[in-house]
């Protein structure tokens, strides 16, 4: 029997409306609420709790959980399940994310909607397994080979782990793209209050099914029924007899590997279906920016000490604010440019040696000073460390 989302059963299995849970568990909750019918995963710190949550919860709502043999198999099964016609996801951390890169590219090329939660830890290699980091922010953008666009969200709270997982599914379904939830070991293992949204407060986007006649259906071109560069979807078993390949393909899905225009046409559409909507997708939070002369630009766990630093600096009269990127990719170029026109300096705290910093520098006005505020080693920035960038003493 194919999975069918049962909102009442899901809420019954999740339990109380208000709970005190880990970020990783909130990801599992978000997946269930979004209607995930398949989860394939492999144990890895600090992401294992997502799989553990799914193993416990998913069978009780008639969904399928399989602990796969490795991360390559996990993402493969997730993509297979998407073509089988259900919403599907996996969760991992750095080393597993690296293993998934080839099939991440396959999902992009084949326009497969699915969600990958990456609970980031330090790297490269095995790094510090139990400690959080934000070192995969460029990998999610460029980690697979070839030209591509990425969609990635970065939660700063446990509630956002839940809400953003739902949103990642909506984006995955809307754009038919593998969407990444870039959380980290700090938020993933943090316990906070979450409120499970009521059904009437949730908005779910479902992939648009193919409706044209089988003979006319083109599985890999702009929609035949809407004004969208995203094709309508024919799940396996729906009678459309779709051929899906990671090779460069024509609009019918057949391999077309030897002509330059075929590849250019395909890849441009795959990129533009997302980049055309950059401003529509932009999702930033502004804190104390109205009169700010200096701004922090940050995301994920790093936003937590940054917000404290803003409060402390404000108390000392410093005109500082924060822009928090909830959606990091596609990068909110216009917001950054406009911010850079208003402030003299932008400081970019990240739990890496400077990744999104480079994007901010690229898109800021030339006369705005951009400062990298890195922290690596599995610890978050301390607020006073950030105050030093403002010249404020504790």
């Amino acid at each position: 029997m194919k999975y069918e989302r049962d909102p009442e059963r899901i809420r019954r299995v999740l339990g109380d409306k208000v709970q005190f849970i880990q970020g990783d568990m909130a990801v599992a909750y978000g997946g269930l609420l979004a209607g995930v019918g398949f989860f394939g995963g492999y144990p890895i710190t600090p992401a294992s709790e997502v799989a553990e949550g799914m193993a416990r919860l998913l069978p009780r709502v008639k969904g399928t959980f399989i602990q796969m043999e490795d991360e390559i198999g996990s993402i493969a099964a997730v993509i297979g399940a998407a073509w089988g016609g259900v919403k599907s996801m996996t969760a991992t951390s750095g080393p597993g994310f690296s293993l998934m890169m080839e099939n991440y590219g396959y999902a992009i090329m084949t326009e497969t909607p699915c969600v990958i939660a990456n609970v980031q830890r330090t790297g490269p290699s095995t790094g510090q397994p139990t400690l959080g980091a934000q070192g995969d922010m460029m990998q999610v953008r460029w980690g697979s080979h070839g030209d591509m666009e990425a969609i990635a969200m970065a939660p700063s709270t446990v509630q956002e782990c839940l809400d953003f997982t739902v949103e990642c599914f909506n984006l995955a379904e809307r754009y038919r793209h593998p969407v990444c939830l870039m959380t980290d070991g700090e938020v993933g293992h943090l316990r906070e209050k979450v409120v499970i949204p009521d059904e009437e407060d949730m908005e779910l986007f479902e992939r648009v099914p193919a409706t044209v006649d089988r003979e006319e259906y083109l599985p890999f071109t702009a929609s035949q029924t809407r004004d969208s560069k995203v094709p309508d979807f024919a799940a396996f078993g729906s009678g459309y007899r779709t051929y899906v390949t990671g090779l460069t393909h024509n609009e019918r899905g057949f391999p077309a590997t030897d002509k330059q225009p075929d590849h250019e046409r395909l890849i441009k559409r795959l990129v533009e279906k997302i980049s055309d909507d950059r401003e529509k997708l932009t999702d930033v939070e502004r804190v104390d920016l109205d009169d700010a002369e200096v701004a922090f630009v940050t995301y994920g766990a790093s936003a937590r000490p940054t917000e404290t630093a803003v409060d402390l600096a404000r108390a000392k009269g410093v005109k500082v604010g924060m822009m928090r990127l909830k959606l990091v990719w596609p990068f909110p170029r216009k917001e950054i440019y406009e911010l850079s026109r208003k402030v003299n300096k932008i400081i970019v705290p990240e739990m890496n040696l400077g990744q999104i910093y480079h994007l901010v520098k690229e898109h800021a006005a030339p006369d705005c000073e951009i400062v990298c505020a890195p922290k690596v080693g599995g610890e978050m920035h301390l607020p006073h460390e950030l105050l030093e960038y403002l010249g404020v003493r504790k």
């Binding site: 299995v13 009780r60 493969a76 016609g85 259900v86 099939n103 078993g237 779709t242 051929y243 899906v244």
Partner: protein
């Protein structure tokens, strides 16, 4: 068996228009497997709308493209893992994987092992040509000892992978190996494998005159067929010889490739077990709820 249909009707019904001609070389055995699968499906009376095909990378993995059905042409070695997801999402679909020896046992060995161990309900048709054909003839994990490939120009010194024995040891529900130039047995095995609710492996020895044959003085297809004839032995004959033969005979057959049905058992597939699990959990939750509990 359903009404007999002729070749033209067969092509019309099963082949995907617009994808032909195939990429296969003269003398390649892969095309025959297409015919065998069509005949097995025809005999089973299945509808192509109810079958999903998956494949990895390599010559054999191009086969689903020629079938007028849903097909997922995936990444190298991973087809079985993708197919696991398809089956999980829609257990009503019959899932068939086309793979090659390098795809399945080289890069994809781990997925093969675990799908067989879990007894995932799928039929894996493995076309073993003892070489990486598409990339130009590199050494495969199945290459016979002493055989020549572009990456073993002085002869292979490794032991060849015995895929069927591995699948059997893992408890796969159905395991068979046949040379592809005899049609009857492969068709029967494909049919039996598809009918079996567990993990089925049908290994078909498929000649590659271009990449394997030429290098190993078997370039003419007849020579390869002769080699198949001389190098294979039915499992039953092998066992008889090993029990009652002379030392000389035992030594001779021990170097041969066994063909036949290695395993054919009925046991619950993964998704049958999973369904039982979810049914029990849901029944229990509903009972708690009906009794006035909150079902947590």
């Amino acid at each position: 068996m359903s009404e007999m249909i002729d070749q033209d009707q067969m092509r019309e019904k099963y082949l995907r228009k617009g994808m032909l001609p195939t990429i296969f070389c003269n003398g390649c055995g892969h095309g025959s497997s297409l015919d065998y699968v069509f005949r097995a499906i025809e005999e089973l009376g299945w509808d192509l709308d109810d079958i999903a095909f998956a494949s990895g990378i390599g010559c054999s993995s191009r086969i689903p493209g020629y079938i007028n059905a849903d097909g997922l042409h995936t990444t190298h070695g991973r087809a079985i893992a993708f197919a696991t997801g398809i089956k999980a999402a829609n257990p009503d679909l019959n899932v068939v994987v086309f793979t090659g020896d390098g795809d399945c046992t080289g890069i994809g060995g781990n997925h093969f092992i675990h799908a067989a161990r879990r007894n995932i309900d799928m039929t894996v048709i493995l076309l073993n040509n003892f070489i990486y054909g598409m990339t130009g003839g590199q050494q495969a994990p199945t290459a016979p000892k002493g055989s020549i490939a572009s990456t073993s120009p002085y002869g292979n010194i490794e032991l060849a992978f015995n895929i069927c024995e591995l699948a059997k040891a893992l408890g796969a529900a159905y395991v068979a190996r046949w040379p592809i130039h005899h049609p009857y047995q492969p068709i029967k095995s494909i049919k039996e494998g598809m009918e079996n609710k567990g993990f089925s492996l049908i290994e078909l020895m498929s000649p590659c005159p271009t990449a394997y044959g030429r290098r190993n003085k078997l370039g003419k297809i007849e020579k390869l067929w002769d080699w198949y004839q001389d190098s294979t032995i039915l499992i039953e004959d092998y066992e008889k010889t090993m029990s009652y033969g002379t030392d000389e005979e035992k030594d001779r057959v021990s170097k041969m490739i066994q063909i036949g049905v290695f395993q054919n058992v009925r046991k619950h597939g993964f998704f049958e077990e999973y369904q039982k699990l979810t049914d029990a959990l849901v029944t229990k939750d509903d009972a708690v709820r009906n009794a006035g509990g909150d079902g947590k």
